[in-house]
């Protein structure tokens, strides 16, 4: 039994590479097609152009479709250029429509038209429909290769249908029942089908309690739904309840990963730039705008401090604590931001209630601020020649700025979310900068007003 643990898998893969080297066509096809598509993709990625050309020769377009579907989009563009037009067209015909749509979405207009023209009319039509959807919606991630059956069919009819169309469908574990107008009427799970009698009409085993999503629903909402109900798939319908596609659980996993990457990216002002595959120049191009924007905020901060030049001339040592005040406020605000961001993503925030969270964060900020103030007011006199005044200024500033920063760190993303705006605005660096400026204003104001007591 091919157990496919890492060691055996490596041996098996190397074996196939050798076979390919030796141009043993039949042997290659037998061994290679035994592999799971994901492993076929792995192996294909290791080949140079010459070996790849052999693969196009040895595998039919239909067999190669499984590999092409699994490639990264940049690789797909490269490979597509290596295939001859008829081979490519037949390959696209045999790919799942949503995978073709994803790929074409990255190409230029003229190339897209050329490919669609070369494909089978029906397959091309499916692809065009999918491409019409806005990115990040149910329609954009759904697949059209699902099985739909009629309530009047019998179990035997359905099994016959599965024999014919089963291999081409993304999933047969849920079979969707539609009426004569193609409207969704219910669902039958394969589990229920298999234990029913063969002459039983579907209407007897149908479950009409079916949860569907509208084609324009946000992908994150679809993912939450599938996760909540532990579904393997969810049907996608139009406003008139016409069944147009299904979203499967494996797509949901990809959506969740994508959203997690996005969250982290927004969080660190590196959204769209966490891709490891781009060059340094492209990465710099994507990340600079944010850094330069934040640098302008830094200029504002510099301006704020500049207003207190007199105070600084009087107590030069005040500048030493600028980083401490800013970092503590920045970090606490970032913690609050993380709480809210995850809470929104996992849906746990809605259950809790927004005001409860803000009150909780305020209390947390005050307590952390108090703890820090106590530590500092103990430490500073020791390290700075018994300078109680300095300790008082720093301690009070810390307490006030931490209290404010948690509230801001929690409030900003909530407001952004309510306004249905892009939470990237609420990214960590932005909130940190706002907290910095407020923290410094508090710090220097306290110091300036106490200046007279020096």
């Amino acid at each position: 039994m091919v157990k496919l643990n890492d060691h055996t898998r490596e041996e098996y893969m190397n074996n196939i590479l050798d076979i390919l080297e030796n141009k043993a066509i039949e042997q290659f096809r037998n061994a290679f097609l035994e592999l799971h598509p994901a492993d076929q993709v792995d192996l294909f990625s290791r080949l140079d152009q010459e070996k790849r050309a052999r693969v196009y020769e040895y595998l039919s377009p239909e067999e190669f479709a499984a590999i092409f579907e699994g490639l990264e989009v940049n690789d797909q563009k490269e490979i597509a250029l290596e295939l001859d037009k008829e081979y490519a067209a037949e390959m696209f015909n045999n790919m799942y429509a949503d995978d073709v749509a994803d790929f074409l979405g990255e190409l230029q207009e003229d190339k897209v038209s050329a490919i669609l023209k070369a494909m089978d009319k029906e397959d091309a039509q499916d692809v065009k429909e999918l491409m019409a959807y806005e990115e990040g919606t149910a329609g954009a991630i759904m697949t059209k290769e699902f099985i739909s059956i009629k309530a009047t069919d019998t179990v035997a009819d359905v099994i016959e249908l599965l024999r014919r169309e089963g291999p081409d469908a993304e999933t047969v574990y849920y079979l969707y029942v539609t009426d004569e107008y193609n409207k969704l009427a219910g669902v039958v799970s394969l589990r229920d089908l298999i234990i029913a009698a063969t002459d039983e009409p579907i209407i007897n085993i149908i479950s009409t309690r079916v949860v569907s999503v509208h084609e324009n629903t946000d992908q994150e909402e679809v993912a939450n739904l599938i996760q909540k109900y532990d579904f393997l798939a969810a049907p996608v319908v139009t406003s008139t309840n016409e069944l147009v596609g299904i979203v499967t659980v494996d797509d949901v996993i990809d959506v969740i990963e994508e959203e997690a990457t996005e969250d982290l990216g927004e969080f660190s002002a590196s959204r769209g730039a966490t891709d490891v595959n781009v060059t340094a120049f492209e990465a710099a191009k994507k990340r600079s705008p944010w850094i330069i924007l934040l640098m302008f905020f830094g200029m504002i901060t510099a301006g704020v401090i500049g207003q207190f030049e007199e105070t600084l001339e009087a107590i030069v040592i005040l500048s030493a604590f600028i980083p401490l005040i800013m970092d503590s406020a920045g970090n606490t605000g970032t913690q609050s931001l993380a709480v809210v961001v995850r809470g929104l993503a996992t849906g746990s925030l809605e259950k809790k209630g927004l005001f409860k969270i803000l009150r909780r964060e305020l209390g947390t900020g005050m307590m952390i601020g108090l703890a820090c103030a106590i530590v500092l007011m103990g430490l500073i006199p020791i390290l700075y020649d018994g300078n109680i005044l300095l300790a008082f200024i720093v301690g009070t500033s810390i307490f006030l700025s931490l209290t404010i920063s948690t509230v801001i760190g929690a409030t900003v993303p909530l407001i952004i979310n309510k306004l249905k705006l892009d939470p990237a605005i609420a990214s960590g660096p932005f909130i940190t900068t706002v907290n910095d400026i407020l923290g410094l204003l508090i710090y220097f104001s306290i110091a300036t007003s106490l200046l007279q007591y020096l």
Copy 2:
């Protein structure tokens, strides 16, 4: 048809609440048990103690098990105290073993023993076995309620088995084939089963190419495997290939969400503290240690700046740019950290190669640093009375510190990961502080050495 969109769902739920209010037992049972378990949990969560008591009366322990499984662990503890002992024991008997194990894992030793003693011997044994696994491993997240069949069974035998045991199994879409020693021999998908002839022996339709995971495999690895191959489940085996459980795709989704929350938490020094359900005091307790630790780093920064007191007395305006230098370096470092953290989580980093990433980040840092330096050296003379010296000091410092911060932001998590240490150490705030200190040293050293030219 109950379409269960939000509006209809709300009506339906309110209807059930009314029925419960009226103590109409049969009507309640009919309506309530129509709901998907996830919706049953939602509705149950809205009840007060009096109404809950009615639910325990109206539903059998087996029916209530589905609700208990879906509750948050803190709620489970509360609810468990409201149930009478026999009801609770029977409920635990009817829950999936991994859900019982998860719950008992949160209780005191004596309570755990009491519950296990009250349960059926066989069910208790399953739970004990699951509890023996270390948290975060395949064994800890697997379920024991799977269907295993023999290669000598016929399709008809299996269908009979599904009729009997199907309802109790977590999933029947993959049927695992074991030999007489209970060792994993292969798998049959329900898809293949249903299109086979009823008298066909399983050995004819079995797939021996089955990917399994060892019981001690890290849960993130299991999740990656299931995601890579688009499986609905993965079998878990011992070192002697004995089949002991399965991990289903819905558990994988939970793992991915958990890991994403963890990443964001470590990233923002708020790990373990992004739970919205704790009180302000508990949140402060969890988050203060990090903030206070980082505050000590702040004291180090203060000490560094203090070394340059003379320079600051000479050019007081230097202190105005401390935040700008620090923030820009901090933000760029955080971006690099995000790239590496996501790259490690999604596995895309391994394909790319570590040195390539570091080189890429170095180049990115230099380019961003150059862009910022140019902007500043243009802006500062305009805003600060043609002070070219200041512009030069700030510009050069920005360039050098951004270059260094990207490399550090990328290198630290990679080293932490290689050493198999806790990447929380590589959290955003830690790296930011390191970059702050380096940035300030660069800044003040340049300023001090140029002091003579003032």
